[in-house]
Symmetry: D2
Subunit: 248 residues, 4 copies
């Protein structure tokens, strides 16, 4: 009967109800990363054929917290921030395919339906979770600075169970916020950094906890590589991720 | 590298992380329905080609609240009820296709990721919402009975905005809990009642509210047909809905 | 300037904003109880002077889940059920004072501000938590019946950490839903059963988990006494609890 | 039996369970303020005797959003940020008493039990709400800068109903973030600014919405005075608020 409009469901005559606006999608946020090594067999078994383990450091994992605002090109979500704000936590590994090295997101939790639906489009295996990340602030004792000695924590829960908690103490600027999430994603095409502040590197602790519905803890922490913090902005045009971290 | 297991993502070697168990999926819950007539043009414009308006009563809409527990065949979700319990609110219209009349869910909100993901498989346009429904209880003044004079309310909010609220006062048993949601679903195949108590019919009030991201209120209430209440159980085997209301 | 109205804050000229209506408060709900014995020293150290350990079975603890609807005398909350529904989980011990035995709530979590504020009036040490409890339903495989073989679970989380989980399998009707919560409360005056279905008794399992902000797990499970289930209704007139379990 | 420890309930032998740490309490956060004039009779009727309307501009109201991290002196909450982060929205008016002008918080909503309990100690009439506020970020299109042209929004909901929404467009630095909340609080003693960035002033819009359980909308918007934004840090030592805005 009708010409349906809307980038995503529910499609209507006007498109106003669409859960997602049409790309491009813009993101501004802070990323807290802990990189570590686990049993390489645990990484390998998460790689569907024809992916293979990365030829070097195949046991490396990045657990990444990100605290985002995002919006479509109109930016209207920023005027109703419950629509713009969400947090996510994702586990990324590396793999090989066709002679190249790729990053691959094996687990991810978010706290909004907009982020969940975008992930389905982008190939992320998103679940809902409760994700918290210490925020920097320029004043006072109830927030760290993004500076040497700044301490940032991330926590993840789902179904009323704590799944992960990390603490990173910043030491110095670094050329990159780690290496595990620095490759193109298998699912999403190429990626390139668009905008962002300096990466910071430091010490990290990370604890993972068992849950009957999750296997994150199977990626046990054998050796911490480092912790990282970076403020970034990303724009995604619908097929090509234009930044180091393709948010979701 | 690996044989991946799991009915749904994230797929792993064991399948333990899958957001959804394999069907069959079982549901036990209470449904509160308000049927009413709106502008038939508003219904028609929600029907994608080749669907056409129902030949009779093309302005009829059912707004349905459901308060569910659901589980896979193992029933393990019932031992961790945060995994089993969810609520939903859905708007259903009728349409014609190939000479038959079908029910069609045009809007739906749920409050869990399991329900959201199941809806994607089943063709429901699910968003997250905050859904509440008065519960019956056999004792005391803080709950109605499912009996003449019992008063049940349903409310729906999303993004911190109230979208709908209804109140139904039960009068008598009825042969069915309305007619709008009684047809096969276009998306999901045939449906048949499996188990349930008697349907109850009564008076109803319904208010719909505007939101910048929703169009439920465009299905304005012109005439209330009736209110209904029914306790039901449904099993869904992965393709054929085996009950009057295919939950999601 | 003004005559302020309202049973509770915020007080205004009309009283419409009051977080709580004036008593009486009515409750209808289901209670799931696990009784067990812990180290009696852990109970004793939770009793402020001049309370003393109960002379008999001083190690007994009841962990109780309750799934409530509540309202004031007008019952208007039942027409907007987000205002009426809440869950709670509380740990109760016994103590002696003046030659009598009392029940005492040492920890309690709820999931609404109305319940939190009522608890402050009634002397309950309430925090917010995430509380879930399997619901009975007359139909289908996604809910137990209140009958022999019915299996009910309760879970408690706060701050994204699981604190407790219990499973009770019903065996038979029993004269009472346990004995730990059967005494008058030190804080709230006398109590008397008003209305309710039969108590059911059965087997139980209970696990408690550590948290940096909680000490529930210090009441370690040494011996399970039993599990109980009961549907009850309570009215509280503002000073005298008129039922076996004074809800909050 | 026992010496009980803990600044707040539940009191235990160790004090570990206390919902609140002992003061001092530290806060770092961002405040978004809209000042406007309403019917002065609506302000006057919210002032309990012996408070009187402020002699000048007695119709002025400030609606303030604040996005906080807070912690006790140990700062441990910052390592588990679900314990540190909360948002609040409060309505402040001015009043006279004993020849001086005071600020008075007439309505306030928060989203954590820690903040709710602190408010009870400090004399704030806190309820739970859903509060969102646009966050500034140095990079990208999904966040404003704290600079001319930066647009910040605040929203408030409770019980699944939108109660207020505001949009502020920054123009210039200003000597103060408004005047309504600049006086000592009647409830909490003196206040003095401790630390913070420059105040910013700009245009504002504000909409208030009816709710059956709230009267914020009775403070109808007759004339916008201005919008303000400021990053601040506060420490509160348990009796004297050491900053312009005493958080809660």
């Amino acid at each position: 009967m009708s010409d349906m409009a809307g980038f995503y469901y529910p499609r209507t005559a006007t498109g106003q109800s669409s859960l997602l606006p049409a790309p491009p999608w813009h993101y501004s946020g802070d990323m807290l990363t802990v990189e570590y090594r686990t049993d390489p067999a645990r990484v390998a078994e998460l790689l569907p054929r024809p992916l293979v383990p990365a030829p070097q450091d195949p046991a490396a994992v990045a657990l990444i917290w990100a605290d985002w605002q995002s919006c479509g090109d109109s930016g209207e979500e920023l005027l109703d921030p419950v629509r713009a704000q969400y947090s996510e936590c994702l586990a990324v590994v590396r793999c090989g395919y066709g002679g190249r090295v790729y990053s691959r997101c094996v687990y991810i939790w978010v706290d909004s339906d907009v982020a969940l639906a975008r992930g389905l489009i982008q190939g992320y295996p998103k679940k809902l979770g409760s994700i918290h990340q210490t925020r920097p602030h320029p004043f006072g004792r109830a927030a760290p600075r993004i500076a040497p000695g700044g301490i940032f924590a991330g926590t993840l829960a789902a179904g009323g169970r704590r799944l992960a908690q990390a603490v990173v103490t910043l030491h110095e600027e670094a050329p990159a916020p780690g290496f595990v999430n620095a490759h193109p994603l298998v699912a999403s095409g190429s990626s390139a950094s668009v905008e962002g502040g300096p990466a910071w590197r430091g010490d990290a602790t990370l604890e993972l906890f068992e849950s009957p519905t999750e296997e994150l803890a199977a990626l046990e922490v054998r050796e911490i590589i480092g912790g990282y913090y970076r403020q970034v902005a990303v724009s995604w045009d619908g097929g090509t991720v234009l930044a180091q971290h393709p948010p979701s």
